[in-house]
């Protein structure tokens, strides 16, 4: 407004000077406004905090039911069964059985219960993370299959798991409709 009124009364040569003055004024105004805005921004900050939850994801577990067959003085090995885990903190897997000594007991599927005073295999079920052992006896106490594993990243970590049952002539075959059975409980979780 101000430069335009004056410019109309002057020669063309002075128009450029007036135009330059207008641009300079505009720039000064912008600078002043920018300074005010800058001062306002400095007094208004937003702090963003983020808490990443510690999580564990189990993509695959060993089979829910594993049929094992062997003759006396033989060993039956099943596997590999695979755990696939993703975790963003140290993690581990533990295993235990429902039998104190890890031995399979006579089971009645029709009654869905172990047979009271039923037969028990002479040797415990054993586990390993390789097909060649070393083999560890399963017990009713949780024991680590893997422990203290670091965060996996986006790619899941795979843990192989094998089971072995050795039988002897001390073991008694069961009548039709009965079987030897044991329950393994796998627990996946983060460390402390």
């Amino acid at each position: 407004m101000l430069p335009a009124t004056g410019c109309r009364l002057r020669a063309a040569a002075s128009r450029a000077l007036c135009l330059s003055g207008a641009i300079l004024g505009l720039l000064c105004g912008l600078l002043v406004m920018n300074g005010v805005a800058g001062a306002q921004a400095a007094s208004h900050t937003t702090t963003v905090s983020f808490t990443l939850l510690e999580a564990i994801e189990v993509l695959a577990w060993p089979s829910a039911g594993v049929p094992m067959v062997a003759g006396p003085d033989e060993e039956a090995i099943s596997g590999p069964f695979i755990f696939l885990v993703r975790a963003n903190a140290p993690w581990g897997i533990r295993v235990r059985t429902d039998a104190d000594d890890g031995r399979m007991r006579e089971y009645d599927p029709n009654a869905a219960a172990y047979v009271p005073q039923g037969h028990v295999l002479s040797r415990s079920v054993e586990w390993s993370t390789t097909p060649n052992g070393p083999w560890y006896t399963t017990t009713a106490a949780d024991v680590p299959v893997v422990s203290g594993r670091g965060p996996t990243g986006a790619q899941p970590a795979a843990v192989e798991f094998y089971l072995r049952q050795v039988t002897t002539y001390d073991d008694v075959t069961l009548p039709t409709g009965r079987e030897y059975r044991i329950i393994l409980t796998y627990t996946a979780g983060l460390g402390y």
Binding site: S63, P67, A112
Partner: protein, 275 residues
């Protein structure tokens, strides 16, 4: 390298599918899987979200037990009858069973009950036992999968009491490396993070390395091993001293252990006592 890893994961997945007669448990995500909180009687824990990323519905049986840890921090679970009873007095999940349809997330709420006048740490564990629909009752070895959610709950004014029990200098897992392993014990009433550093000095007393001692949580009544890893220079030989500075949760007097570096094996003789 990345491609190899992806291929190996795919192979493992295929292997898993081939060997699985039927799944023990569907794909389930649990978050948070670890909860640390300051609580009082009646406090609600943050919701634990159970997400089913599998194809079949999953029934989740919920119960509690007690937690502890071994030297490397791996959890030690107790869910016998006594532990279940004791833990259920402390932590009460709102549900004892959840039904999670494929692609859905179900929150689990739990409330803390603090014994009157109690101050210290409480460490219940929430177990989520997974039972996918359609699981057949067959096979001589039956399997049940479960996920444990560990909790570290602090109540009132309580303090840890961290002490160093032993210090060992031993060969590391990688050839040519050394580990300084410090076993710390918490005789206090609440958990705390223990940590610090180790200074390695040569025979003339000149410090040649300062290594962080991996910080770790130690529950009351538990011990844990903190480890510092050192890669000695190729020319390092002769007597050395490792000085352990435990600085967290509160500074302790330094502990020194003398050891000898020999050409092979990497270390000969180690041990020491607290100053």
């Amino acid at each position: 390298m990345v491609l190899c890893r992806q291929v190996s994961v795919v192979l493992v997945l295929v292997c898993a599918l081939l060997t699985a007669g039927w799944p023990a448990a569907a794909q389930v995500v649990v978050r948070p899987a670890k909860i640390e909180a300051r609580v009082e009687d009646g406090s609600a824990l943050p919701p634990i979200e159970v997400t089913n990323r599998g194809q079949a519905p999953v029934r989740v049986v919920v119960y509690t037990g007690l937690g502890g840890h071994d030297l490397d921090g791996s959890p030690v679970y107790r869910d016998d009858a006594w532990a279940r009873s004791e833990s259920s007095r402390i932590l009460r999940p709102a549900e004892d069973e959840l039904y999670v349809a494929p692609g859905t997330t179900v929150p689990l709420l739990a409330t803390v009950r603090v014994p009157e006048g109690f101050a210290g740490g409480l460490y219940p564990v929430i177990f989520l036992e997974l039972h996918p629909d359609g699981t057949q009752d067959a096979g001589s070895v039956r399997a049940v999968g479960r996920v444990a959610v560990v909790t570290l709950l602090s109540v009132g004014d309580a303090a840890p009491d961290m002490q160093a029990e032993t210090v060992l200098v031993r060969p590391g897992q990688d050839a040519g490396t050394l580990e300084v392993a410090v076993r710390v014990r918490n005789d206090g009433d609440v958990h705390a993070v223990a940590g610090g550093s180790v200074t390695i000095s040569d025979g003339s007393g000149v410090a040649v390395a300062k290594i962080p001692l991996g910080a770790a949580t130690v529950l009351p009544g538990h011990a844990r091993e903190l480890v510092a890893h050192w890669i000695p220079p190729a020319a390092a030989l002769g007597p050395y001293v490792a000085t352990v500075h435990l600085e967290e949760p509160s500074p302790l007097p330094p502990i020194q252990v003398a050891f000898m570096l020999e050409p092979a094996p990497a270390i000969a003789g180690a041990g020491g006592n607290r100053w």
